[in-house]
């Protein structure tokens, strides 16, 4: 395991010369360009796939198959006049779009978008590739608190949405931002708790190390992906919480067109609206990347020949990344929208307790092999106790929820007001 950890990006370990600076600049450019290009494609794919699912053609005018539609939309939005409502708080109103858009870009910095994670001849996995004579991670920045940065960025993005609605000086955006605040704050908890499970099994916060852990040989034919190692549940919790966190249907309450017109961005136009739009679709890309990294092994995958070996990591990464945006488009085409209280119920009464219980159970199971202070192997007995405790807690929680609901219904019947 020591080979996995404590290394850091070898690029910056040695002497900083022109090649290193060039590589860093190149990686910065890539990390900036990839999300942007993918976002433009994502918007087009979303409109095309959604159109196909609902018996429409979708955009087909700008460029072949309408692929340049996003560019056309962008050009239009960027040249329009940006209106500021009279009652808006002008400073905050202008600031909010950037609070949404900048974090969306930042997340990609810690995501390994490639690298050779196959074991070297000496059995170690370092995930480096050699470019311009320097060994390097295909990742802009392997921060030690790595994955926490993802949480930080998604938390900051909440401020963008919240302040946009609040500063618009209008009622519908206000309702949208109130919804957004409550929704994002509560799903952040579920998001964080399911992350704990990943960190627990991988033993590191660094995204590079999490991928390297998943590149280890798994049991039998199964890969060592966190999806399997953490027992599927954290994956689903993270996936659903991420859907809610970035306001994708069926959790798109903050901009529910049929209820709040356009929610928090009702009063926004031109480039400021475009920034929200970009931030929202970029979130599907970055969260797809984060989920692929955390649960599906990111760039870890076999070298199948044909292409140069170092490129396979990138290929695998983007293949895995593409799964999630597609599922989100699928969601949008099929699922009705949740109601505000149902959304809160799902978050607080199901997702958070579920991931809490799962962490306890996972920790207890994983501690089975450790040696306690008395020199004995701890074994599975604590796990059984914890399991029983979690089950009991679940039953009690369910009972209390049922009682609460019945009380509410009775109260509705008795008192009119």
């Amino acid at each position: 395991m020591t080979a996995l950890l404590a290394t850091g990006d070898p690029l910056l370990a040695g002497e900083i010369d022109g090649g290193v600076i060039l590589l860093v600049l190149l990686k910065t450019l890539i990390v900036f360009a990839i999300p942007l290009v993918l976002t433009a494609l994502m918007i087009w794919v979303e409109r095309k796939v959604h159109g196909d699912m609902s018996n429409r053609i979708g955009p087909n005018r700008a460029g072949p198959w309408g692929i340049l539609q996003t560019l056309a939309d962008g050009a239009k939005l960027f040249t329009k006049e940006g209106l500021i409502p009279e009652r808006a708080d002008r400073l905050v109103y202008r600031l909010a779009p950037y609070l949404s858009a900048v974090p969306a870009f930042l997340v990609f910095a810690v995501v390994p978008f490639g690298g050779d994670f196959n074991p070297r001849s000496d059995g170690t996995i370092d995930g480096t590739v050699t470019l311009l004579g320097n060994a390097t991670f295909l990742q802009l920045f392997d921060a030690q608190p790595g994955i926490l940065l993802v949480l930080v960025c998604s938390s900051v993005a909440v401020y963008g949405v919240m302040l946009a609605g609040w500063s618009s000086g209008s009622k519908y955006p206000l309702l949208g931002s109130v919804r957004a605040t409550a929704q994002m704050v509560s799903y952040e908890a579920a998001l964080g708790l399911s992350l704990v499970a990943v960190v627990l099994v991988s033993g590191s916060l660094s995204t590079h190390d999490i991928v390297a852990f998943q590149a280890l040989p798994g049991r039998g034919l199964l890969p060592n992906w966190n999806l399997i190692v953490t027992g599927v549940v954290p994956f689903f919790v993270f996936f659903i919480a991420a859907t809610a966190e970035m306001n994708r249907p069926p959790f798109d309450l903050t901009e529910a067109e049929q209820e709040l017109v356009a929610g928090f961005n009702t009063e926004y136009s031109a480039i400021r609206f475009a920034l929200f739009y970009i931030a929202e679709f970029m979130a599907t890309i970055t969260f797809g990347a984060v989920i692929a990294t955390l649960f599906l092994g990111g760039p870890a995958g076999p070298d199948l020949g044909i292409l140069p070996g170092w490129l396979w990591g990138t290929v695998w990464f983007f293949l895995k990344l593409a799964i999630f945006p597609f599922i989100w488009i699928w969601f949008r085409a099929t699922l009705p929208r949740f109601r505000y209280d149902q959304l809160m119920d799902l978050g607080w009464k199901l997702m958070i307790p579920l991931s809490l219980g799962w962490i306890l159970l996972l920790a207890a199971i994983r501690s089975a092999d450790t040696v306690g202070t008395d020199g004995q192997r701890i074994g599975y007995l604590p796990a059984v106790y914890v399991g029983a405790g979690v089950l009991l807690a679940a039953v009690l929680l369910q009972a209390s929820i049922t009682v609460g609901r019945r009380r509410r219904e009775l109260a509705d019947l008795e008192v009119f007001d």
Binding site: H50, M53, S54, N55, R56, K171, Y172, L175, V178, R179, P249, P250, D252, L253, A256, E257, Q258, E259, L260, V261, R332, A333, T334, L335, P336, R337, F338, R339, Y340, D341, Q342, D412, F416, D417
Partner: protein
């Protein structure tokens, strides 16, 4: 109408303030009663005791007339406590074109052209009810050829399907299942294409005329309509998969916008709204018109009076209409498609070329119209939205002295405050959607 500006610039009408009063302080119990939409659950004495509650914790918000889910130009003023709807006031009149008044200036022959634009989602029912009332005044209702009557029924049932498909589409969209909107539109388009083949127009057909219909069915209509009826059932099953069994869909609609049978009847609700409460009231069965008494069909009923019942009723009424159409197609007899009464029917086109009398007759009918005996008549049909009635008064001239349309959507709108109270905004959207108001019919 007493126009008086009260506090807050609220315009008063003789039915109370037109808009929601911004503050509940000093509001009369009667007014409060009306605004909180609990006409039937509280006595006025109880309303007197009703604590208005703090004013500064609520927000008044305008939904509409330009809002994605108010189905046209309905304006709903909401008083919100957080997201909870406290008071609701539907305000209408944004689509008022004075059609009832216009009707008094058009001859009975021109009447259907006017009324067909009222409920634009089910235009044939408007024409039908106007023609039924006129025929009653003329005393020819028993002389309408059987073929005309059966064709009227065929067209109306196709129109009912297209109207319900429109509801399914918009209801899906309002709840957030956007794909459903396109699905519903797709099937509705097929129905409209069929109606266009028959009547020449997709909407506002002006096809049902006094004394019969405008033209005979074109060749090949039978295969076309049967083809449509074969196409629909699998699509409806698709809707079931997409919506009916969907847990989020059920959660969003079940127990939302509940109204009881007693309340619905007191508020004048008919159609799917009344049937959702468990009252099996369908004019096709309970006050048969045309030849509905010869057909076999079920009246679809709900039991909870919630949005889900109203959705399920309409979905299943489409299935019932398919059943009806299968029967109607076999029943259409050969014969005339309009009454051979020289008074109301213009001579055939071929006769005009050879007979001066026919030409004069044709000219007179289309310039002056035909005179209708003095009297009054009321006819009602079961439109997709409920009881659609037409009240006509004739003073013996060729134009109605007074025409009044009882539009079901108008009555259903006044159920809104009652159904929306205590729900969230999202519930309000579901309720408006499940009422399926057509504003053209409300404002007339």
């Amino acid at each position: 109408m007493a126009v008086d500006v009260k506090g807050g610039g609220i315009v008063d009408t003789d039915e109370g303030a037109q808009e929601l009063t911004p503050t509940r302080k000093g509001m009369e119990a009667k007014e409060l009663l009306r605004e909180v939409g609990c006409v039937l659950r509280l006595s006025e004495a109880d309303a007197e005791a009703l604590e208005p509650g703090p004013d500064d914790e609520t927000m008044i918000i305008n939904m509409g007339p330009q809002h994605p889910s108010t189905h046209g130009v309905l304006r709903v003023m909401l008083e919100l406590d957080g997201e909870t709807v406290v008071r609701t006031k539907p305000i209408m009149g944004y689509l008022h074109t004075g059609m009832e008044k216009t009707g008094e200036d058009l001859t009975f022959l021109q009447g259907p052209t006017n009324v067909t634009r009222m409920d634009y989602a089910s235009p044939l029912f408007n024409e039908l009810v106007f023609c039924l009332a006129t025929e009653k005044l003329l005393g020819i209702e028993d002389d309408i050829p059987a073929r005309a009557t059966w064709i009227r029924m065929l067209l109306c049932e196709v129109n009912r399907i297209s109207s319900h498909l429109l509801f399914l589409a918009t209801n899906g969209m309002d709840i957030g299942a956007v794909t459903m909107m396109l699905y519903g539109w797709r099937e509705r388009e097929e129905m409209l294409r069929f109606l266009e083949r028959i009547t020449g127009l997709r909407m506002n057909h002006n096809f049902i005329r006094v004394g019969g219909i405008a033209a005979d069915l074109p060749p090949g209509w039978r295969d076309e309509v049967l083809g449509l009826m074969d196409m629909l059932p699998p699509r409806l099953d698709e809707y079931d998969v997409l919506m009916t069994g969907q847990p989020i869909w059920r959660e969003r609609l079940q127990g939302v916008g509940v109204i009881t049978a007693q309340e619905a009847m007191a508020l004048g609700a008919t159609g799917p709204i009344l049937r959702s409460t468990g009252v099996p009231w369908d004019l096709r069965r309970d006050a048969p018109y045309l030849h509905y008494d010869q057909l076999e069909f079920d009246v679809i009923c709900g039991s909870y009076g919630d949005c889900f019942d109203r959705y399920a009723i309409r979905l299943n009424e489409v299935r019932e209409s398919i059943r009806l159409i299968h029967q109607i197609v076999d029943m259409i007899p050969p014969g005339d498609y309009r009454i051979q009464d020289k008074k109301v029917t213009p001579p055939p086109r071929a006769r005009i070329d050879e007979s001066m009398e026919a030409l004069i007759h044709h000219f007179k009918i289309f310039t002056e119209g035909f005179k209708v005996p003095e009297g009054e008549a009321y006819a009602a049909v079961e439109s997709p939205r409920g009881e659609l009635g037409c009240y006509l008064v004739s003073d013996g001239s060729a134009k109605p002295y007074r025409m009044h349309i009882r539009g079901p959507s108008f009555f259903h709108l006044q159920c809104l405050p009652h159904m929306m109270r205590g729900g969230l905004i999202a519930d309000g959207v579901a309720v408006i959607s499940s009422v399926d108001p057509i504003l053209g019919e409300v404002d007339r």
